[in-house]
Symmetry: C2
Subunit: 217 residues, 2 copies
């Protein structure tokens, strides 16, 4: 298909598509003349993915390029590509700090990984942004004086493990390896707002149930 | 305590504290002279909360003011204050759209609430940002062609309900009503990065386990 049709079918303006092409977020089309290129279903899928990362996931253009590059790095084995793509996804930066709270957070998280039976070397050696975000968020809780020890964190770790099984089942349901890598990125990012908004709705439900239960609502 | 001590104990620079006071994010101190005011432990807690919302939660100053106002509105009953404070928390804006995907999302979410036994009027009438975020995120999944029907969403709804029980237990462990409202805001925001980073670490674990299991890693 030509650029105009790619724009029509994806709902992304042609100027934005040209910008994504220049920025390396979208693979170039097959050139058919000096001024025209041909695009296929792969371009359409990638375009939707990039759009979803940026618009729904709030991912920056630079970070989206990194994610796409990781997803395309065929020098990595398949499971590493799955991981590289999702681990490259950025998180809201948390304040750095090296104090008693940071130390307490390291202890709590180390204990948590042990209780969950997760491999601490896998988490730490990869120096994953997710691991740093976890440490920083737990340290922020500690600084505010909220409970955040291993036992408090454990139920959150358990539901995360539960969700990961559901997530991986969805990803591996995609028939091709490239489709799985793309799905891993898309589902990681797109299910984050799903999960967080469901949690907030569940708060309202749970709070209302308790209010009805104890008659003080 | 004086401003200098409040700054020392909270780790927030005095210029930032003065800015928060001007913006209504922090209640004024008790004036003791023409140029000095006295602050107490309540100021310290509020200051830490505002700092956490803005620095860890990535909440804007305007949104933080709205959250703080909802938390302080004593004309509301206690459970409504808990809800108002957390529902005022903003989410990443999702693209608007009224197409087949948006319609599919409405159907899937309506079905989901029914399956979970959640009150749809509670979710919709309040016109909560969480409900809109849920619809928008599910519509984005539908546009990308990923599975996002009621049955696919159900496991995410179930873990959200599970997490909400843990969350509410933590909130209600705070001894005072004001402390509970503050904890509801802080724990909602601060446990979001905890939960999302744990989910990403769990992905790595789960993916590695399956790779070891099927020998293709």
């Amino acid at each position: 298909m030509r650029l105009a049709e790619l724009s029509e079918r994806s709902g992304v303006p042609t100027a934005t598509i040209k910008y994504y092409l220049r920025e390396g977020l979208l693979q170039p089309g097959r050139r058919v003349s000096a001024t025209q290129a041909e695009y296929d279903e792969g371009h359409l899928r990638r375009l939707r993915l990039v759009r979803a990362l940026i618009q729904v996931g709030g991912v920056t253009v630079a970070a989206a390029r990194e994610v796409v590059a990781a997803a395309e790095d065929v020098s990595l084995d398949h499971h590493t590509r799955l991981g590289a793509a999702t681990w490259a996804l950025p998180r809201v930066p948390a304040p750095a700090g090296d104090d008693a709270a940071a130390e307490a957070a390291r202890e709590a998280v180390t204990g948590l990984l042990a209780r969950l039976g997760w491999d601490p070397e896998r988490a730490e050696i990869a120096a994953s942004p997710a691991y740093r975000t976890l440490l920083d968020s737990v340290a922020a809780l500690a600084r505010l004086g909220y409970p955040c020890g291993t036992e408090t964190l454990l139920p959150y770790g358990r539901v995360a493990a539960e969700i990961a099984v559901t997530d991986l089942d969805l990803v591996l349901a995609e028939p091709t390896a490239d489709g799985q890598v793309e799905a891993a990125v898309a589902l990681t990012v797109l299910y984050e707002p799903v999960l967080l908004s469901l949690r907030r709705l569940a708060h309202a439900e749970e709070s209302a149930r308790r209010a009805e239960g104890d008659g003080t609502g």
